[in-house]
Symmetry: C2
Subunit: 210 residues, 2 copies
DNA sequence: GTCTATAATTCGATAGAC
DNA sequence: GTCTATCGAATTATAGAC
């Protein structure tokens, strides 16, 4: 059975999502206007409300698209370490957390820098951004926390919690600085990203074990 | 010779600065309106433009007040380690960097949480916030970088640069999470802050030496 | 220095034709 | 699904009286 797809609509929706991600990344939620989005996306102002309902729901749609990709890549990476009994090492866990977003971003070219900045906004912007974003990522973070607890049984849950939180802060900072002078990732090439992942994993692993 | 001080004006300016810091911290630059500021500060809308000139210059004035306090406290702390020839240890340098903002914030009570969030905005908000803020902090960061270089002569300048940048990201994350559940600093009491400083310095020192 | 009044834009959202 | 037209409200900033 064929699946009906309105091509024009799919293009319009996706075009709005792409431009919205770019503008939210560059100017933040409050600094982005729907009129700015529709101008760059070359669609009608009413199309945004027809497809998404409101500015806030548009933002949620962008977040969900981003979160889905990242979490899928992280879970895929984790399966490489699934041998069974022994808990995965801290290094491997942190690499499974850190490597996927960096690799994804380096594969996306110019859009990768935008994606990186957007992720940064999700962690730092005022209400309602952080709340909308956390909803999409919290379950995944809990899963990683559970695995870290198995790898480091001597540390308390709350200790691991703030250490993971700080590790994410470090990852997000690296992401938002991609391409800038003196950043850990400057050219955003696959080779450079591999080196950056090693250094970054090392940086946070030391902190996590401390 | 007496110094003329218009008390009403001093109050008005300071009141505007206080409320502006609070609203910028809570809602960000774009999300804050001058009308919101004057409503809460109970001053006239024209007073903001008379004293500061524009929304952007008002933000700059808040940043300058905040930066001045932090940098002074850090430099004061550094003088404790000035013995002369031997370079200060990495731990001491990082503690001189990290402790002052956390201690200041815990002394400020409720306003401390606002101050902490405001500092977070300075590092993460879109143009023109980051640019205006970096202008006030960059010289101080360079000084710390120079001292770190003396303490860790085997690491390259660019290596130390991104490591210090990531350490600041960690500090800022701790600041913005003050008072939230599972944060490193929850009650914001002097004793708790002292413990937090030790853990935090340990976390970033391990990463810095790695 | 402080105030009122208002200029000049811009915003998110919606109604209704096609 | 897409469009035009527009509503109602909010924004920064300024002019000018006191």
């Amino acid at each position: 059975m064929k699946v009906k797809v309105n091509v024009a609509t799919a293009d319009t929706k996706e075009q709005i999502l792409n431009v919205a991600e770019k503008l939210f990344a560059e100017k933040g939620f409050a600094g982005t206007t729907l009129r700015g989005v529709i101008r760059e996306a070359e669609v009608n102002i009413a199309a945004v409300h027809y497809h998404f309902g409101s500015k806030e729901k548009l933002f949620s749609a962008v977040v969900q698209r981003v979160a889905k990709q990242i979490i899928q890549a992280q879970q895929r990476q984790l399966k490489n370490y699934e041998n069974g009994e022994k808990p995965t090492s801290v290094e491997n866990l942190l690499e499974a957390f850190i490597a996927p977003p960096l690799q994804t971003i380096s594969q996306m070219g110019e859009m990768g820098v935008i994606r990186a900045q957007f992720i940064g906004r999700c962690r730092t912007e005022p209400f309602p951004v952080q709340q909308l974003a956390e909803k999409e990522f919290s379950e995944n973070h809990q899963r990683f926390l559970d695995m870290l607890q198995r790898a480091l049984p001597d540390q308390t849950r709350s200790e691991l919690q703030w250490k993971l939180d700080l590790s994410i802060a470090v990852l997000v900072r690296v992401l938002t600085q991609v391409g800038k002078p003196n950043a850990l990732v400057q050219e955003n090439s696959p080779q450079e990203v591999e080196v950056a992942i090693k250094r970054l994993v090392n940086f946070v692993t030391q902190g996590m074990k401390a």
